[in-house]
């Protein structure tokens, strides 16, 4: 994962600066917590304890020849709790929605809502809080996104703090 991160990260700082035209950016909460805001019915702050109580998903990624297991919660599970329409509830307009993920260090990446939704894809994109059964390292966590089927790791954003949902067509 580390090596793939390199190339896209180089491009990302310059290119991934989406102009948010709708919704309010989710403010960062305290350490270990994730805030979910923007175009959502129920803005959320999800604590570390909340994560542990949610349905858990494990994904395995290959990091330079080594199989590494990340465990956490599907991003879609968080979106569902924030009232974001998913699956068959997603209208034609709602498909034109994306999630801006923000990190403690200012790094940002974007996913479309549909690609996070198990009703659309089998991407299994999670918000992880453990690596090989242990808490993430400080430089990774406490939370990070893991997109196990991305060919490069640039969107597996570390030090995740905010998810901001942007619906382009209302």
């Amino acid at each position: 994962m580390k090596t793939p991160l390199v190339l896209l990260l180089i491009a990302s700082a310059a290119l991934i600066q989406p102009r948010i035209t709708t919704g309010q950016a989710a403010p960062a909460a305290g350490p270990g917590a994730l805030t979910v805001g923007g175009d959502v019915k129920e803005p959320l702050t999800v604590t570390a304890a909340d994560f542990k109580a949610m349905p858990r998903t494990t994904v395995t990624v290959n990091e330079e020849g080594r199989e590494v297991k990340y465990e956490g919660v599907l991003v879609a599970e968080i979106l569902k709790r924030a009232g974001v329409p998913l699956g068959r509830d997603m209208s034609a307009g709602a498909v034109a929605s994306y999630v801006l993920a923000g990190a403690k260090d200012g790094y940002q990446v974007v996913f479309s809502v549909a690609e996070l939704d198990p009703g659309f894809t089998s991407n299994d994109i999670i918000i992880a809080d453990t690596i090989d059964g242990k808490p993430l390292f400080d430089y990774q966590g406490p939370l990070r996104i893991v997109a196990p089927h991305d060919k490069r790791g640039a969107r597996s954003i570390r030090m995740l703090q905010t998810l901001t949902v942007v619906r382009l067509r209302k």
Binding site: K2, V6, I10, A13, A14, E64, G106, D138, Y139
Partner: protein
Amino acid sequence: MRRVVPTVAAGLVLGSVLSLAQQLPAAYDWQIPAAFPKPRIPPDNPITGPKAELGRYLFYDTRLSGNGTQSCATCHDQARAFTDARPVAVGSTGQPHPRGSMSLVNVAFSAALTWANPLMTRLEDQALVPMFGDHPVELGLKQPADDLLARLRSAQEYPRLFGAAFGPSPDPFSLTNVVNAIASFERTILSFRSPYDRYHYDRDDDAISAAAKRGEQLFFSSPLSCFRCHSGFTFSSAVDFDGRRESGGPEFHNTGLYNLPGPLSYPAPNTGLYEVTKRPGDVGKFKAPTLRNIAVTAPYMHDGSIATLEGVLDHYSAGGRTIADGLLKGVGHDNPNRSPTVSGFTLTADQRADVIAFLQALTDNAVLHDPRFTNPWTHY
């Protein structure tokens, strides 16, 4: 009989397999922790213990220089992570090399060797450059290698070592076998035992200091972005390893170290990748060397022009080096080929100390003193 025949046949097959196994060299014991991949080995130079051991003798042997004054180890000192503490290397005839000696630690994982040559990918090929190159003269040997091979043949230790590595016949004393053995030894110099490794791979939270952990966060943060070029388990440019599915092709970067007027913004002959490609956009692009053991490999950069790690942080925090006066005067930040990753950042004094502490946690004292990599000639 109906039972005996299959039994006998199976016995013969088993015997053949055992016989074959006895003829094959034992698989090399890398002693690599499970968290790390194994090096990719060229099919035409499989690694064996005796071959690597012969390579160690050759690596430390001054017979490999034309005037008998230098060996590979002269410029690749184990105690300095196989570098030499000089800004640029100095050959056996006193001729300076344009660039500094690179560390050989984990060189087996390098997708490209040397500072800026994407075409140099095999250690077997690279070994010939210091041996026979004359631009500059390094070890100062002359082709054909008859004189070298005669010197090796006459040394008391080598018939046994060459025989063990390559068999007694055909004549094992050949230049190909010499470089195959040296390359095999170099591939064995692996570093996985730093405090950082104990912290990161063994999950020993006390292996590195709190300052080093803060430094790690800074190292991997967007503002500093050190990890974008010094990536992966070697903290270097792209790596290759056994079983890698995607090519980890070589990468080269212009860090804004110089900005001379004119088409060549870096001082000749060190124009970087441009030397090979002749593309103007490649002027000043060099490999990001491994940061493992970086605390013991001063001075830094391809030409040793920065004396300390603190100085390197100054260079990167400024987003390129400004040289105010003299022949090299220029604002590196304005170099047209400067990587956008080297954009500059601001650190407090404490944060600088934290980054340095992190880099120091990458020092693997075990590899610096491992008897498998030491000079074997000292007890003769």
